[in-house]
Amino acid sequence: MNVIVETQKVTKTYVMNGIAVEAVRGVDLAVQPGEFVAIVGPSGSGKSSLLHMLGAMDKPTSGEVIFKGRALSKMGDGQRTDLRAKDIGFIFQMFNLLPMLSAFENVEVAMRFAGKGRKDRIARTKELMDRVGLTERARHQPRYLSGGEHQRVAIARALANNPALVLADEPTGNLDSKTGAGILELLRDICDRENQTVIIVTHDFRAASYADRVLVLRDGRIRGEAKIKGAADTHRALNQLLELELQ
């Protein structure tokens, strides 16, 4: 199978104070290696829930998530945790860096969970800091870093263990447009140069335009999909999707 991750009729229902909320209502998707996929939708569309399930952090209410040919439902907590350590890199909307560690240490700690030795960890972290352009700021703690710098550290951390899949939850959600563009360019670059599979989730169509393929999610279901690689197509494809979005 060439698919990195796929979902089969996946649903997610939450119960909050006695009220059932169906966040995801049956989603089928499949992502190929090296693809850059964007899942677009307004807030409440269920996109975060979907991402959490793809990232082995949450279990579907029904349906299946299959990662590199293995069904997640058949895995124990230890195995899923291992997956998150070695095969998946997650970038959070709130960055979620550990406040008491420096940027360098934040990236380095992720490698401990993959069992890398100290020398290797340091070498790789240096490499990653370089890659995301933060070598000078590496020793600072998060509170001394700007929003964009936070996000870069988060990206570096996500890449630390050479994961098969990188997931990003609203990567530009908390950033101004210029900084956000920088982040997306970085992600794009990583995908192009290192053939990294990337899935982002966003409400912002401009962010989605960096992807190879865009899926529109609304009310827990995929309403539309478009391949947008190639400049000419982009505008039209996006317009179609926008219309879908506005319906």
Partner: protein
């Protein structure tokens, strides 16, 4: 094992961490003091008992009520004739046997301790009956004149003149009940009753303390060690109102007393441990609650449950170990200051210290269980909650 993160977490909440460590240190210090005092006392008692190997101490028999035998302060009294009869028994080594009289001169501040200073009247020429196991610091172990006296080290300190810092030494004089005595010898460092002894001739003691023709007890040494038991049986048969105690008997008595003390001490110590555990549990628990998000992040990026557990356990154990370490100097200080010269050994405390480190580690572990359980069940999604 994420120790560095544990340390960083503790450092982030400095005030709280310091308070917790202090709280634990207080508890541990108390624990150490109690244990230290008790251990020192135990050791001293052992040491004292060892001096009675091969000997039999004959006194008036007391009732069997559950009580604590307090050697030499029992007020046992024997007529001189009875003593003579005992000393004339077959099979004893007369030169290492003697009639004795014990008269406390100063009371001990600690319960269950022999008097702080005690006059020991012994037959001149038979000093070995009492002093057999001990060497002299200075002078001789022989009472030649009626005014000769041999002092234990604590007794020597007791009699030091006002304003002086040096204990009485051989060649000097002391006054007892208005009479002057020559110090002909000072014992080496010895436990309890020996260190506290002021040894003088029996007749002199009887005279100055108004006890003519009375002795307190008789210490007998068997001519051959194997005969000790038989000798004891003979005494108890011939003198039914008297009791003959061998080293074993004395040890048994001492154990009864220690047992009583142990019970009380254990109760106190266990309460202390519970308090320490509660303190640490709360602190670590609260820390975990505050760090739900960070724990969620760690889980999200691949830390397994074991790692989270060890993080929490690590914080917990760091607090308890630091608290225990901090407590040691304070405990030493307080015991020495409080106990003054009653105890000669700080070793008692150090012996307990390594035990305390182990206990602290265990406390830290136990205290971490509840918070760790909580932490381990934090889902990765926690990291996403506040969006």
């Amino acid at each position: 094992m994420l120790w560095d993160i544990a340390l960083k977490n503790l450092w982030r909440r400095k005030l709280r961490t310091i308070l917790a460590i202090l709280g634990v240190a207080t508890a541990v210090q108390l624990y150490l003091m109690i244990s230290g005092i008790f251990t020192t006392y135990e050791q001293d008692t052992q040491h004292q008992l060892s001096a009675f190997a091969g000997k039999i101490v004959v006194e008036r028999q007391m009732e069997e009520l559950r009580g604590i035998a307090d050697f030499t302060s029992s007020g046992s009294s024997l007529k001189a004739e009875t003593a003579e009869e005992l000393l004339a028994l077959e099979g004893i080594d007369r030169s290492s046997s003697s009639a004795m009289i014990f008269i406390p001169i100063a009371r001990s501040v600690m319960p269950y301790m022999p008097p702080a200073v005690v006059a020991v009247g012994i037959e001149p020429g038979h000093e070995k009956a009492f002093l057999g196991g001990f060497g002299m610091e200075s002078g001789s172990a022989a009472l030649h004149g009626p005014d000769d006296v041999i002092l234990g080290q604590n007794a020597a300190k007791y009699y030091q003149p006002e304003g002086s810092n040096t204990p009485i030494a051989q060649g000097q004089t002391i006054e007892i009940q208005g009479q002057t005595f020559n110090v002909v010898g000072v014992l080496k460092q010895a436990p309890q009753i020996f260190g506290n002894a002021v040894i003088l001739p029996l007749e002199t003691a009887q005279k100055i303390f108004d006890r003519s023709n009375i002795v307190s007890s008789v210490i007998l040494t068997a001519a051959r060690v194997e005969d000790t038991q038989a000798l004891k049986t003979e005494i108890t048969t011939r003198f039914p109102t008297l009791t003959a105690s061998t080293q074993d008997d004395m040890t048994k008595n001492a154990n009864v007393m220690l047992e009583a003390m142990t019970k009380l001490m254990s109760l106190i110590k266990n309460s202390i441990i519970v308090v320490a555990i509660v303190v640490i549990t709360i602190v670590v628990f609260v820390a975990v609650m505050e760090q739900r998000r960070e724990i969620g992040i760690l889980r999200a990026i691949g830390a397994n449950r074991w790692r989270i557990f060890s993080l929490v356990a690590g914080e917990s154990m760091i607090i308890s170990l630091l608290g225990a370490t901090l407590a040691l100097p304070f405990a030493v200080f307080f015991v020495q200051w409080g106990m003054r010269s009653e105890f000669n050994s700080i070793p008692g405390i150090f012996q307990v210290w390594w035990q305390s480190i182990a206990v602290a580690a265990v406390i830290g572990l136990i205290a971490s269980l509840l918070p760790a359980w909580k932490a381990v069940h934090v889902e990765p999604l926690e990291a996403m909650r506040y969006e």
